[in-house]
Symmetry: C2
Amino acid sequence: MTTTDGVRWLSSDELAAWRSFSLMLARLPAALEEQLQRDGGLNFVEYHVLAGLSDAPDRTMRMSGLAVLVNSELSRLSHLMRRLEKRGLVRREPDPGDGRFTNAILTDEGYAHLVKLAPGHVATVRKLVIDALDENRLASLHRCSEDILGAIDACDAE
Amino acid sequence: MTTTDGVRWLSSDELAAWRSFSLMLARLPAALEEQLQRDGGLNFVEYHVLAGLSDAPDRTMRMSGLAVLVNSELSRLSHLMRRLEKRGLVRREPDPGDGRFTNAILTDEGYAHLVKLAPGHVATVRKLVIDALDENRLASLHRCSEDILGAIDACDAE
DNA sequence: CTCATCTCGTTGAAACTTCAACTTCTGAGG
DNA sequence: CCTCAGAAGTTGAAGTTTCAACGAGATGAG
């Protein structure tokens, strides 16, 4: 299916699917952030930092582990944690056992903030995604996501 | 399916689907931008500005129309266009017929840049999305995207 | 005509992210 | 020991986006 210029351009079905998907890719994160920002003054990454810490033992994680969890670079996380720390939602201290590491810790205040925010966030995720699809399509979306993630990993591995 | 606290939390299937989808939502745009940035020094929005202009009559669109097309605010677009203008890829001039409007115009240089970049971008979209899914799943992804976009619109309309 | 108003677009400041140094700490090899 | 390589984090500067205020052109009512 190579065209004269050697490039496999998209068929009209493929193009329509890509357009729709790509618009959704831009709008859904914006819609989710809008709710988090409005109700809790947090963006998506900040919310997941708090959520990740709340699930961790002692509500504590290393910065580097947290960075992987929220899919973000260490530098960005460091700046972001400084802001959350200034708001009293988290706290940082060097790992007593190994001074190279920094432990990020969710404060009681941060936990309380998360607890206040979580129901609204889940409700938004339901409204915009989970309940917008029937069971089969959600399962299909799940597989699509896995396949795309697989393709990205394969691509990263060259 | 309301739990004791009145919140409909996610089932384990739903949670797994959401986790996977939400990771993809973060990684795919980063992967696409990585290619565009590397090969053409453009981010996703900038690429679509050039692509949108190249499809428009006279390679010209109003700023406000372009903003809707690339799903971005006018202010952001204005800053972005200033940078693209400085690189000679686009040009702006007030609409001769109605001075309230500004026309954004793709220069020959901008068009050439786009032509150079498009094949690689399409190849990446194919590799990461289109060809990573079979025909049925791509169709299903298309419908999922439409449904989610519909839910967002419904939500915006309160 | 002119005033009020509306939309379009720009601007500068603040907020956030990215990038490239740089510091600190540890563990390995001499 | 000593030092050297390497990973973890931080920092400041540069780049980008967001936010709120503003300016300029068109339109319609009086």
